[in-house]
């Protein structure tokens, strides 16, 4: 769609400011929608109580209900009814921007795509970004300004804050504090600076629960000053990851890294001349990166530091790795984990310089944070001052410290001592509950701002829609402090850049920046930092008794900010396939030693603090080490997330942010019910997933399609159908797939797939059209982890079609396996007969037909299914048709790559390719020519259109021998 979209990207400013637009928006989503004051249970919210027989008129012969058409009064120019517009903007995580193109239907944002021009996206996004569209419409978002819990107004808020500011002003601002997350927004930073200069005694604190604390501290230890490190996987032959999961969205730049790394692996698989990169990883918790690694060294997180120093000191057990690194000077990467100690970072920096990687595969720039400070110290200071009563006013921008501040700080007790507490946030959350003032924050699709990407590139954040719930942005609030209450966020952002970019060409510069979604030349230049100071020696194995506890942001809901997002809650976590829960991960052996097992609810006690959570035996987990995920145990997140899981922050201490030793567990009860989407962990006797080493592959290229799996062409008594027009097909490269689940959510967003809730998932009724199967291979202590995305195979001899009594699923002349919801009567026979089990059934009325605000999030090009009908992957037929129609109108054939399925578009690793098999030059046709290509269950003669490229590993021969 991008080429077409280009014509439509226009800045929204004049549109957003027109009165009509406001009228239209209000008309569509009245700000007064009292969604927020009828809580209702989560089940209810998810429409599991659906008793109505919806989708009226579906029988085809019933009378159409009366409908009205509501045209514009004055129509906005660039808007063509029925055509989507795309606007470039950016979403930030922990302050760092990912460029996105947001799709807007008649003024409704319905889908988020990656911005190909943006360095941190390259057209891809992660799952959370995909899910952000749902958060935009989340009826649980706070919708009114409250003062002490009572409805209040913006004006009153301005007055109150101004008063506090003026009072503080008498003392140069002493006692006035601002708490933000990590700030990369140049505009916001300058606004804050302006305020601080006006009130020198006022203080600005930053705290990001899952920010880059170690990276910053590590850089300071190594170089004496904060430095931003970027890795160039496209140039790396040997990668040693020190507990760094650089494929997970917790890692800034992960999308870019995934793309570069997988590109290298693919290249090596396609021609034997290019060398495949080799990836070693030392980690405690099975991660996406660990899944793709050629060698995975399992160790407690606390051991990683010793592993690292072993590398630099040339310890025997890591000789082979070090030799490998040495053999590729300037073509290796030693990458420290975001969640490892600063020390490990320092060692990594040292190694990279020693091995000559610095400046080649490892690049340094100035920090992207506007003010790179030790956030933990900053927060600690704030807490101390609050406790000492030195803080009179605290304005919290977007954070939720009451929920996620390190437990040892007792943030809440300190907070209570502050006279005036104001909170700006998307939700009236745990922190808002303890603040005098709460102001609804505008979603990033509703507000103007700017932010830097992981390597410094600036993007302007522009709104697609007026705040649905009257939200305000940080800029608006800071404008009050700087006495510019009348100035809008748009004014502030524009004014900032105008000041930076004086001259008459500003307008063009502004328009282009908005249009492209990236500000040309705003990326930081590379710099060569001073030589690394010798890293302090690593302490010998700490004799701490008890278990190690490792903290990680949750694979689906991250630090908990998006916990109320039902798509993310129901997204199976890549490693465990668990939904609607976090759990205490424990290794099989340790569990056996402690006599506990999956489903046991245990108290975890760590330095006097205690949380209770269910155990989950995780193959590949390090011995004597538990992994806890943040983001759960919310109490004021909303109807979706409240009371789901347990809050791991309650164990976290500012001293040991990511791992701590000396924990003990005691079983409280047994048999906790998890809701997982996959119950069988291994491939049993079958081989859906096929893998080999590069070496073996070159020896035996056909390994992926053994003789017994082939079926003779003349097996059927009937002749084959020949598809003479288009012949759609898909190829999925298992060698690239990182298992990040972004495709699952992209599919959910594109195809209006409902969520079903924990109880239903537990019954085995989840609805994802595109699931990612995870198989463990090898001994349970440290198995290989395989990820296999499974959409509908669109079999040419589709077993599902044969058994449908009403022809609700049949083949199109282009070989699509069509599923016609309105014809389906729900015998479910097709699902039984589908060997891939990719069909999903609406056992209840899952789709939410009631919650008004959610209707806005739906894709108008896809039917919303009702109770009792089957559904499944359609190869995004709505996209196929759109492109075909445009082609037809222009009287030209469809170009290869013009049709992009939602899963393909989002995939950071470019693992999914869709196209026309009748076009011999199409990318997909070429991929299917490869030796690695094999079809799942080919032996059944289903002739699947979706096929896989087998996974290849590149182990170090030396280690393989051992």
């Amino acid at each position: 769609m991008k080429p077409e979209a280009h014509n439509y990207w226009r800045s929204l400013e004049e549109l957003a400011s027109t009165e009509e637009f406001r009228a239209y928006v209000e008309d569509e989503f009245p700000n007064r929608t009292p969604d927020w004051n009828n809580p209702g249970s989560r089940r209810k919210f998810l429409r599991l109580m659906g008793a109505s027989i919806a989708l009226a008129g579906v029988t085809g012969c019933t009378k159409q209900p009366k409908e009205v058409i509501v045209p514009y009064v004055r129509s906005p120019e660039e808007m063509v009814p029925g055509k989507p517009l795309f606007y470039a903007t950016a979403m930030t995580f922990a302050g760092l921007a990912t460029g996105v193109l947001a799709e807007s239907h008649m003024g409704r944002p319905t889908k988020v795509e990656g911005n190909p021009e943006h360095p941190a996206s390259l057209g891809a996004t992660d799952a959370a970004t995909q899910a952000s569209i749902l958060s935009l419409y989340d009826p649980d978002r706070s919708q009114i300004i409250t003062r002490d819990g009572n409805i209040s107004g913006w004006g009153d808020f301005i007055a109150a804050v101004s008063r506090a500011r003026d009072a503080a002003g008498l003392k140069k601002g002493a006692g006035f504090r601002i708490l933000t997350g990590t700030v990369t927004s140049p505009t916001l930073a300058s606004q804050i600076q302006e305020f601080l200069t006006a009130f020198p005694q006022a203080k600005w604190h930053q705290y990001e629960p899952c920010g880059r604390h170690s990276a910053r501290a590590g850089a300071v230890t190594a170089f004496g000053a904060p430095v931003n490190t970027i890795y160039r996987f496209d140039r790396a032959d040997v990668i040693v990851s020190l507990d760094c999961d650089f494929f997970s969205s917790a890692m800034p730049g992960s999308l870019r890294y995934a793309r570069d790394y997988s590109a290298r692996r693919r290249a090596a698989a396609e021609n034997s001349s290019s060398v495949p990169p080799r990836l070693y990883i030392a980690e405690s918790t099975p991660s996406l990166t660990g899944g793709l690694a050629d060698h995975r060294f399992r160790m407690a997180a606390g051991e990683v530091a010793r592993f690292a120093s072993g590398l630099s000191s040339g310890a025997p057990e890591v000789q082979a790795i070090y030799k490998d690194l040495e053999a590729h000077p300037g073509a290796g990467i030693v990458i420290p984990g975001e969640h490892q100690s600063p020390q490990v970072h320092a060692i990594a920096h040292a190694l990279n310089q020693k091995l000559g990687n610095a400046g080649k595969t490892v690049v340094y720039t100035d920090p992207v944070e506007a003010a790179p400070v030790d956030e933990i110290a900053s927060l600690a200071e704030l807490v101390k001052d609050m406790r000492d009563g030195a803080v009179e006013t605290l304005v919290i921008f977007g954070g939720n410290p009451v929920y996620n501040a390190p437990a040892d700080l007792n943030f809440l007790d300190a907070l209570k001592k502050v006279n005036l507490r104001a909170h700006l946030g998307l939700y009236s959350d745990e922190t808002a509950a303890w603040c005098h003032w709460h102001v609804p924050e505008a979603h990033y699709l509703e507000s103007w701002s700017d932010a830097r990407a992981y390597e410094g590139t600036v993007s302007i954040v522009q709104p697609l829609i007026l705040p649905l719930y009257g939200g305000r942005s940080s800029h608006d609030v800071i404008n009050i402090l700087t006495n510019r209450a009348d100035q809008s966020a748009y004014d502030s952002v524009r004014a900032y850049w105008q000041a930076k970019r004086p001259g008459k060409d500003f307008e063009d510069f502004w328009q282009i920046s908005l249009h492209d979604g990236v500000m040309a030349g705003s990326a930081f230049p590379e710099r060569t930092p001073p030589p690394v100071k010798p890293a302090p020696p690593v302490a010998a194995a700490s004799a701490a008794q008890g278990l190690e506890v490792v903290f990680r942001p949750d694979p689906s809901v991250g630090d908990g900010g998006m916990a109320n997002n039902a798509w993310l809650q129901e997204m199976p976590k890549p490693q465990s396939k668990m939904t609607w829960n976090n759990a205490v991960w424990i290794s099989p052996k340790t569990a056996e030693r402690l006599g506990v097992t999956t489903g046991d609810v245990v108290d975890i006690e760590l330095s006097g603090r205690k949380v209770q959570g269910p155990l989950w035996i995780m193959p590949g987990q390090a011995e004597e080490s538990l992994t806890l995920h943040f983001g759960y145990g919310r109490t004021r997140a909303g109807r979706v997330a409240d009371g789901v899981g347990f809050n791991a922050y309650a164990l976290r201490s500012s001293a040991s942010l990511w791992q701590a030793a000396g924990a003990t567990i005691t079983r409280k009860s047994r048999g906790y019910e998890f809701a997982t989407t996959q119950h069988t962990q291994t491939m049993e006797e079958h081989d859906p997933f096929r893998a080999a080493t590069y070496a073996h592959f070159h020896k035996e290229p056909e390994f992926a399609r053994p003789e017994e799996k082939q079926v003779p062409k003349d097996l059927s008594m009937f002749p084959m159908w020949n598809y003479d027009q288009h012949k759609w097909g898909m190829s999925i490269d298992l060698n690239s797939c990182t298992g990040c689940q972004a495709c699952t959510i992209a599919c959910q967003s594109e195809n209006n797939i409902p969520v079903v809730g924990k109880e239903e998932v537990a019954k085995g009724r989840h609805m994802n059209w595109l699931r990612i199967d995870r198989y463990f291979d090898g001994q349970p202590e440290n198995p290989r982890m395989y990820f296999q995305p499974v959409p509908c195979m669109h079999c040419e001899n589709a077993p599902c079609e044969l058994v449908c009594p009403v022809a609700a699923t049949v083949h199109s002349t282009e070989g699509l396996n069509e599923m016609v919801y309105n014809r389906c009567v729900g015998t479910r026979y097709c699902s039984n007969n589908c060997p891939y089990k990719v069909r999903r059934f609406n056992f209840f009325l899952y789709a939410d037909w009631d919650t008004k605000s959610l209707m806005g999030s739906r894709n108008p090009d896809v039917s919303v299914r009702s109770r009792g009908v089957m559904e499944k992957c359609t190869y995004c037929v709505q996209r196929i048709n759109r492109v075909k129609i445009e082609g037809e109108k222009q009287d030209r054939p469809v170009r290869d790559g013009e049709i992009i399925t939602a899963c393909q578009q989002v995939c950071p690793a470019e693992a999914i390719v869709f196209g026309d098999l009748n076009d011999p030059n199409s990318r997909v046709a070429k991929l299917k020519q490869q030796h690695r290509d094999y079809g799942l269950l080919e032996e059944l003669n289903t002739r699947p259109r979706t096929t896989y490229l087998a996974r290849l590993r590149n182990p170090n021969p030396e280690l393989e021998k051992g």
Binding site: W721, A798, T813
Partner: protein, 186 residues
Amino acid sequence: MITPHDKSNKQGSLYGIMAEFDDPESLLEAARRARDEGYRAMDAYTPMPVEGLAEAIGFSSNWVQRLVLVAGLCGASGGFLLCWWMTVIAYPHVVAGRPLNSWPAYIPITFETMVLISCITAVVGMLTLNGLPQPYHPVFNVPRFEHASRDKFFLCIEASDSKFDPAATRQFLLDQNPQEVSDVAS
């Protein structure tokens, strides 16, 4: 024993004369005799089918099986054509890579329709040929006829018969030593 001739019965309003027997054998015997005597328009009434009785009264019909044969053929061809028409003419879909006319799949339906149509024809045909339903019939006028559905066997020579003569026929029947002979008012 013998009941006196009932005056009330007018010649014209006489349907026939009926004799009652105790067991199938004697009825059979009587029927044969009647036929030898030259009576044609007669019928026998029994509580259950009696072998050879139809032949005895000179009746045979094989319309039922003819009808059923035709019906079966129609049913079978109809069933197959329906399937063929639905998949090839009415709305051709590509289903599971099978050809439009995947005839082997149509056999079960073909068979079922064949059976259905023929069975319906068998029953409906039988009833129609028997002229049923016919709740009113002169023979029901005979007081003891209720035994025809229990344990007695009746032979009725009908007035329509050319050779029928009230007195003679009655006498003829009396000669077959029946339980009783009675006029059947029409």
